[in-house]
């Protein structure tokens, strides 16, 4: 029994944290994501050279051979630094491509090993991105047509995994090059500007299928579950930082001749934020473990992690703004960068109440 990170995993976390802080941390996110400077190729390059983007690739294929627990650790740190690049998505794509163990999968892994980033346009059929999506259909030649909304990062990545239906109606998962002919991206104005979002329009775009007619559905579900856990892990990282920022602020800010943090009402808020974050940590550990060990409880564990980081995440975000006073409501203060990530992650791939509904189905009807 050991529900805690190993020393190596702690070191992994520190390594990524150092890299992100060293690269300029939040100031860099502001510069590239919020102030609309060009794509941050430089930081991506650093992530590639230091092995972060290839962390989930097997060692024999040139990666670090790390598992899902490590992907979770990386996601926590990417939330802590509100990372504005598709690192988590690339790790997830690596894992699913590895499981495909065919030419298309190997090809994608190879490209990731060479430094390519990947994003994900899945989730429509898994109750995911957006029910209003028209969906995408594949024809006999593997050409994709249709649309999916709100794909994170879009053309910031080089490739995209697209969920689409085979001509027979079964779910499939396809690799598309983001710049290929027939692929169009339309940028949205996302609240969380550190994750630019795009509507994807496909008109006969060439693709390679990762799985056959029968396996893809489970794989998409699994990918979506893994994604939920990494979104939750990002939220945990972002929330933990919000509590730290808040504690620092209320210790320094003075009113009535003393630090505002000496008032018990403020202490209660900070203590409740801390309590929420510690519980989130346990929730994502358990979910990551259930994925790593492929336990029967996966679906339940993931839904609990998503629920436990969802509403409580929004709670921490809201308290962080409140305890900063008006400055917390401004663009200038950093709080909002984290708040926007946390709130977005709450809603993506299933908000708290939806997850609770799912949990009730499992517990009361014995089926997900």
């Amino acid at each position: 029994m050991n529900l805690e990170l190993s020393e190596e995993q702690e070191q992994l976390a520190e390594g990524l944290r150092e890299l992100l802080v060293g690269s300029g941390d939040i100031a860099r996110v502001r510069r590239f994501a919020y102030d609309g400077e060009d794509r941050d190729g430089e930081l991506w390059e650093q992530l590639v050279t230091n092995g972060w983007t290839t962390a989930s690739i097997l060692e024999k294929a040139g990666g670090l051979g790390l598992g899902f627990e490590e992907a979770m650790v990386i996601a926590i740190e990417s939330g802590r630094g509100v990372l504005h690049l598709p690192l988590c998505e690339t790790l997830l794509a690596t894992r699913v491509a590895g499981r495909a163990s065919n030419e298309a999968g190997d090809g994608l892994v190879e490209k990731i090993a060479e430094g390519a980033g990947v994003t994900l346009a899945v989730g429509a059929s898994a109750g995911g991105l957006n029910d209003a999506d028209d969906g995408v259909q594949a024809d006999e030649n593997g050409q994709l047509t249709g649309s999916l909304r709100s794909v994170p990062f879009g053309p910031v990545a080089a490739h995209c995994l697209v969920e689409a239906t085979f001509p027979g109606g079964q779910t499939g998962l396809f690799v598309v090059s983001c710049e290929a002919t027939g692929v169009q991206w339309r940028m949205r104005q996302a609240m969380d500007e550190s994750v630019p979002r795009f509507d994807l329009e496909l008109r006969g775009a060439a693709s390679e299928s990762l799985f056959g007619h029968t396996e893809a559905r489970d794989e998409v579900e699994r990918l979506t579950d893994e994604w939920r856990v990494l979104l939750g892990a990002q939220t945990e990282g972002a929330c933990r930082r919000l509590v730290e920022m808040t504690a620092d602020y209320v210790k320094k800010r003075e009113q009535f001749g003393r630090p505002v943090g000496s008032n018990q009402a403020v202490k209660v808020r900070v203590a409740e934020m801390g309590a929420a974050v510690e519980k989130m940590r346990a929730a994502i550990y358990f979910a990551a473990l259930s994925i790593e060990q492929e336990t029967e409880e996966r679906s339940l564990a993931v839904a609990m992690a998503k629920a436990e980081t969802g509403t409580p995440g929004a709670f921490v975000a809201t308290q962080a703004i409140h305890t900063h006073g008006a400055i917390g409501y401004t663009w200038e203060q950093d709080v909002h960068l984290f708040v926007k990530r946390v709130k977005s992650n709450e809603l993506l791939l299933g908000a708290g109440h939806e997850m609770l509904g799912h949990i009730a189905d499992i517990l009361l009807d014995g089926s997900p």
């Binding site: 029994m1 050991n2 529900l3 805690e4 990170l5 190993s6 627990e69 509590v243 504690a247 209320v250 210790k251 003393r258 630090p259 943090g261 000496s262 008032n263 018990q264 403020v266 202490k267 209660v268 900070v270 203590a271 409740e272 801390g274 309590a275 510690e278 519980k279 940590r281 346990a282 929730a283 550990y285 358990f286 990551a288 473990l289 790593e292 609990m304 629920a307 436990e308 109440h353 609770l356 509904g357 949990i359 009730a360 517990l363 009361l364």
Partner: protein, 396 residues
Amino acid sequence: MDIDLSPQELEFRREFRTWLEHNIPENWEPREARGQSHHESWELRRDFERRMGRDGWLGVAWPEEYGGRGATLMEQVIYQEELARSEAPGLAGHVGLQMVGPILMEVGTDEQRARFLPPILRGEEVWYQGFSEPNAGSDLAGLQTRAVLDGDEWVISGQKVWGGFAEFADWGAVLVRTDPDVPKHKGISFMVVDMKSPGIDISYIREIHGGSNMNEVFFDGVRVPRDNVISEINDGWNAATRLLTWERGVITLSILVNHEIFWERLREYALANKRGGRRLADIPHIREALAQTYVNIRMMKLANLRWLAHYLKGERPGLETSYMKLYWNSAHKSVSDLALELGGADALELPGSHAAPEGAFPVEWMASRATSILGGTEDIQRNIIAERIYGLPRGS
């Protein structure tokens, strides 16, 4: 990471479970006992506890040199879980087993250990914990019960309140003020008091659910041998608080199994009962409430398991026990709130009522109101988190 039990741990569980199956008294009615006073089933509890002692199932955590099993922390958790799961009578000796025993092993004299440890382990001597006072609750260090040295004896006068089992106890572990002229934390000593001594007067407090398991204990010139001080004179505060933290850690780790069992009963109840022609388990808000409560309990457990991983590596429970206390309160309150909601009007009936589907529902609800108070209130835990974990300024 890994959350499986080892083969030895599974074997330990099997062994204890089997023992419990064969030894829980047949006439023990666990659900009726909730909310009753201890004295209504005292003889039965007493016999059961002696039997546990006889077969080596008391003090499993104690090191072998003191007659225990030297159980690992994980085994201790399993032990507590099995006790709860079997709905065995609660141990009257827990103050001796979980508090006095360990503290004597750490700071007691050889004579004290030889005198007090074996009867605790045999289930023969019961201890009372006398800490809180009418004017010293959250501010426990402000306690006023005085002990004055007179020749070879301490003479104790004052009043304690809220501790249980005082009327059955052989010994009391009592915090007293031995030096009123130093800062409050520095003038407190930890004393062993013979509870049958002249000058001790005990009365019952009737609790919210009608049962009486708490006592008021009055000390009027009670004489205690000089050697009955545990640890150094005036060092009682350190010893007591360390143990309270330890207690909060290991106990909350195991207590939630009670809530798991209770939640399972609610699930069954919701599947089996209807309201307005609809099965409870089909009503959307009840489905969501059952799911949310399940998540609360499960999360409390997972958070505790995460900290357990640290204790298994040898760290002592510390400030994180304050989080455990907050989670425990919210899990306990939410599961018992839900019980009343499920039962509706019938859940407002006490045990024994002809209309009560589950007489335990309202008793559980009432009992759960205490969780935010006992063992250091929720407000005090939040102060600890804010001030000692996040470093916010003290005072005001």
